[in-house]
């Protein structure tokens, strides 16, 4: 966990409202694990005041990638940055996904909805390195919401897509695609990131099919490193559930830890 006040943008790609930046920062890249995130400063003054949490999308020796969708003013300002600009970044933060040794040789599904795909590229590659047989399920509203499909394919990952409007892949929600796939073959684990309703639905499927599942949650974050108690969700840890800090204890939790009812 460190602060790099001047991580250099070395790559910028964009697809409509989606952006991918490569940032050079040996300090941040060295420690990064899948499912961890960064707190990125989007303005050099008070507007917006807070940093923005963004997942680590990919990691090379000295560089990290972030992938984001414009959601409001902060991400819009970030999207205006150019190659060679510098970013002030805290990270890597959070505990990330737990990569079980037992997954070797096993089939696992990585399920991403919309911008929720961001942490799953790094994860999928690490899972494969760990010997798992990875299948990526990638859903979006429409074809333009699947800008990373080719990137996954290029990396030699097995990707199946879904779109709400049927413009690409399975016609329907990614949870429908997941249901189809689990009907064929139950994976040894699920790794999920996406909008709350999608994750909740996925958790139901996982519970029903008894598949261990990990979910990367989002919440409003004041600091990202455990100092503000702003980011809590109700999480069971052998108890009935307390307000636990997403940034520190998470952002990834297993399905049986998350108390979905209390959300939003």
């Amino acid at each position: 966990m460190t602060k790099d006040p001047a991580a250099r943008i070395v790559l910028k790609q964009e697809w409509g409202n989606y952006f991918l930046f490569g940032v050079e920062s040996p300090a941040l890249a060295g420690e990064a694990k899948p499912g961890q995130f960064l707190m990125v400063r989007v303005s050099d003054h008070i507007d917006p005041l807070l940093r923005r949490p963004l997942s680590i999308h990919a990691r090379e020796r000295n560089t990290l990638e972030i992938f984001f969708k414009i959601a409001g003013r902060g991400t819009a300002l970030l999207a205006r940055k150019k190659e060679e600009d510098r970013l002030d970044i805290l990270g890597p933060l959070g505990a990330g996904f737990r990569l079980d040794a037992g997954l070797k040789g096993k089939a696992v599904f990585v399920v991403g909805g919309g911008r929720g795909i961001a942490p799953l590229y790094f994860l999928a590659r690490e899972l494969r390195t760990a010997g798992a047989r990875v299948k990526v399920l990638y859903g979006g509203k429409s074809l333009p919401d699947l800008p990373l499909k080719q990137k996954f394919e290029k990396a030699g990952l097995d990707v199946a897509c879904s779109t709400d409007d049927g413009s690409s892949g399975f016609h329907g929600l990614v949870t429908g695609l997941l249901q189809n796939e689990t009907n064929k073959q139950n994976p040894a684990a699920l790794f999920v990131c996406g909008p709350d309703p999608m994750m909740k639905k996925t958790a139901e499927i996982a519970a029903r099919e008894k598949i261990p599942a990990q979910f990367s949650l989002e919440s409003m974050m004041g600091c990202g490193f455990g100092a503000c108690w702003g980011c809590v969700k109700r999480i069971r840890k052998g108890d009935d559930g307390a307000w636990r800090k997403i940034c520190e204890d998470g952002p990834v939790f297993s399905g049986d830890e998350i108390v979905w009812e209390e959300e939003g």
């Binding site: 966990m1 460190t2 602060k3 400063r41 008070i46 507007d47 917006p48 005041l49 807070l50 940093r51 805290l90 919440s219 409003m220 974050m221 004041g222 600091c223 490193f225 455990g226 100092a227 503000c228 108690w229 702003g230 980011c231 809590v232 969700k233 307390a242 307000w243 209390e262 939003g264």
Partner: protein
Amino acid sequence: MVDLSVDLGFLKLRNPVLAASGTFGYGLEFEPFMDLNSIGGFVVKGLYFGPREGNPPPRLVETAGGLINAIGLQGVGVEQFAEEILPRLRKYQTAIFVNVCGASDEEYIRAIEYLNRYEGIAAYELNISCPNVEKNGACPALNSGHTFSLVKLAKQASRLPIIAKLSPNVTDIVEIAKAAEEGGADGISLINTILAMAVDIETQRPKLTNIFGGLSGPAIKPIALRMVYQVVSAVKIPVIGMGGIMTGSDALEFLIVGAKAVEVGTANFIDPAATLRIVGEIEDFCRRNDVKKIAGLVGTLKV
């Protein structure tokens, strides 16, 4: 060399920059980012006698130059703090303040009496001003009578100095400050957050589940500075100023109007080494302006 030390009377500080309660966790969260010995001290997150659940999320809203929080003082309670956290803080040479909360007068006293037994605490900051616990932001510091009686009880119970932390949500901050002084407070810190709200126009719901929260950050600095200035001229005990301090320049404004030290709050979230940076910026200012002792700058406002 600039002498940055300040004397609160009951306590000398290496420098006038403290981290504010609720924005610096229990201190340990900041170890990766800075040397805790480099600042004057820090106030740990508000502690009740027992552990507290806090409010349901969402607990934070960003506003123009500000942050509304309704954490509701989630925390471990004095026992776990004293047994598990305090020992890990004792290695630091920096002043550690405990922000003491209570749902009743008795709970404040119980917390103080419990903590009295432990070494390593410089003073208690009596949090009589949190707007996020009772309905409509009620708290003892809205009332001079309650401020007086509670400070007095706390002072009697405490073996350590008591700093009364005041609320800005009052008509006459001077009246409350005087009540705290009469009650025996060794110092006063202000301001806590300003009661505020925000609405999501799409859902027509409050953005905070708690409806109300406390506004902090640069947006409130001009209000905080005014209140600190009003209070310093009315009381004899030292005043610790806070509210929206992001830079050394902001901190210097508070010192110039008469605060003996400052607390840095929301800035810690954005820049976890903000306190350290601010110490450096104050030192640079002193060097540039040939100020030998920061204490000499306190209360120099020319009106």
